[in-house]
Symmetry: C2
Subunit: 341 residues, 2 copies
């Protein structure tokens, strides 16, 4: 029998384990290293700790841990234009090559002219025509391949980098921190659902089934060899912006989020809906106030109060009144992008 010696071994093992546990606690890395200490970081950490602490009255069981994130301006850069719009405009010339008659028809003529001022004046019905012409009438596989190809070569005009490198490092840390604590992270964007799905898994660690966006219809059919295909059709099932965000969440998730992140009036209803749930809920807005490192727009810049789709003064006031957290990119974030060390 080796009992005495084993006891010593066991004792050593216990001491070692205890030491490791203490060291582990001491050395526990900061889950949000790109964040400065401040009310925004503190609120996020408090939310995660409280809702995952089984002894807390505000504990949330793991299957209910849902967190939703707007994309453009919340997870990545949306200036000077949201990347998907740049993609659509770029596709116009490819479409016009196949259908030359479009070259002399508005709004395609304006887009092909490349005149920025004229393009900026395009109306919503104009943009809809462009979306229909560039994003439909092809199979889902063709569309995915085209978006992949575009992403591989397109570059942001300011940083000259692929758009997928222009995600906000502090938000990437929040995504990972939430997932490490059992939260399912979703994108809930006004952008096209299938566009975002092409890169969301690689870029954010968010799988296609957790991307909620503006939803176009598809039509099931067969190709010339009798193989099943899905063709994109010009039918908008859900416009995932404003009231469409909680409606899209109900459709795609069927549960109310516990945390929601946005940056504009388009996210207002999602944040209201999230915050109105029982228990501890987190509603967060990203304020773009860092002209040097990224862009500054919104209330600090005195934008007209009524401009939709951006961070208006009215939204800022609602955030203050409703206990929503406002992230100052300038003050709360140590760095903006991963490539900035």
């Amino acid at each position: 029998m080796c009992r005495p010696r084993m006891s010593r071994c066991v004792l050593a093992a216990v001491v070692c384990a205890a030491w490791c546990a203490v060291a582990g606690v001491q050395a526990q890395p900061d889950p949000l290293p790109s964040w400065n200490d401040g009310p925004a970081k503190a609120a996020i950490v408090k939310f995660v700790r409280t809702t995952t602490d089984t002894s807390s009255p505000q504990f949330v069981s793991s299957e209910k841990r849902i967190a939703t994130f707007d994309q453009d301006g919340t997870l990545w850069v949306e200036k000077p234009a949201v990347p998907q719009l740049t993609y659509c405009f770029g596709r116009v010339s490819a479409v016009a090559e196949k259908k030359p008659e479009l070259k002399n028809v508005e709004p395609f003529k304006t887009v092909l002219s490349g005149e920025r001022a004229a393009i900026a004046r395009l109306t919503l019905p104009d943009l809809e025509k462009i979306v229909v012409a560039t994003l439909t009438g092809i199979t889902t596989d063709q569309y995915q391949a085209e978006v992949e190809q575009w992403l591989a070569t397109a570059r942001d005009p300011r940083w000259k980098k692929p758009y997928t490198e222009l995600t906000y490092q502090p938000m990437q840390e929040v995504l990972r921190y939430l997932r490490a604590n059992g939260y399912k992270t979703y994108i809930v964007s006004g952008g096209g659902q299938d566009f975002i799905r092409v890169y969301a898994e690689q870029t954010y660690g968010i799988p296609p089934e957790q991307v909620v966006g503006s939803m176009g219809g598809t039509r099931y059919g067969y190709d010339k060899d009798g193989k099943p295909i899905l063709t994109r059709v010009p039918k908008l099932l859900l416009n995932d912006v404003d009231a469409g965000k909680p409606e899209g969440i109900q459709l795609m998730i069927g549960r109310r989020p516990y945390a929601a992140f946005g940056n504009s009036t388009g996210d207002r209803q999602m944040l209201e809906y999230t915050k109105a749930g029982a228990g501890l809920r987190l509603a967060v807005l990203v304020l773009h106030d860092d002209a040097r490192r990224e862009y500054a727009y919104g209330p600090a810049q005195g934008l007209p109060d009524t401009k939709q789709g951006t961070f208006t003064q009215a939204l800022y006031d609602q955030a203050q009144k409703s206990g929503w957290i406002v992230i100052s990119m300038k003050n709360d974030w140590k760095r903006i992008f991963a490539f900035q060390q």
Copy 2:
């Protein structure tokens, strides 16, 4: 130093571990104990083993492991009527109490008469009117509460049991077996998405976000206290049957399944779409051929070939030609329900 004794201890540990491993393999429980050995069980087991074996050329990485299941007639009993239709008919009298003018208007008059033959003759537009009257105009929370209440008291006419106890035990085992092997299991049903979500988690272990069904619209708004609410509106976003199934899968999941299970022509396109993907795919149909233990309907019973929404002879022929697996409830299943020991 305790080297010699430690060596003996280590040797003993190694022997023990090896023995445990062998014993573990030998004692590994059958993942499908309610199934008889046969081609259906063998095909399911082969599919799971092959697609999760990293040394197989047909290995599927975990994030792509998607399996979809029709519900009515595939996971639970659909005779004499699918439970949701029974729910809708039951709701008619509650609605008529609030709106007495409906009592003399068709199709409500017929439903309230309780005359089975007349009810069976109701047309699709009639059923749509009933669905609109009974399932919309209330908040998503109210609807959920009403379905919960109904499920708690409603009983199947033959077994006198709650509908949620009339799920097929062999299919419950397939769901668990797939999940234990990293598959995400989805319901893809022609039934109402929000109806199924009420009980899917408790009944099948399938969370709301993995329920794809026929999708009605909601409208975001505020109640009299200013609290955000979602109201169900009479707008069909997607009819999740026939071609609607692959379209619904694209909308809600965004990936092609590797395995799909159904039992009628309404599942044909889902199975075609699944099977058309690269690599090893599994397409399965449940054949109801057990009049004694459940029901018998479909090709064995000489149903007219063209009857949609059931298991036609044409579907049976397509299954044979396409390498789809057909489960004979009579021959492949040891027992049908969990309550039958």
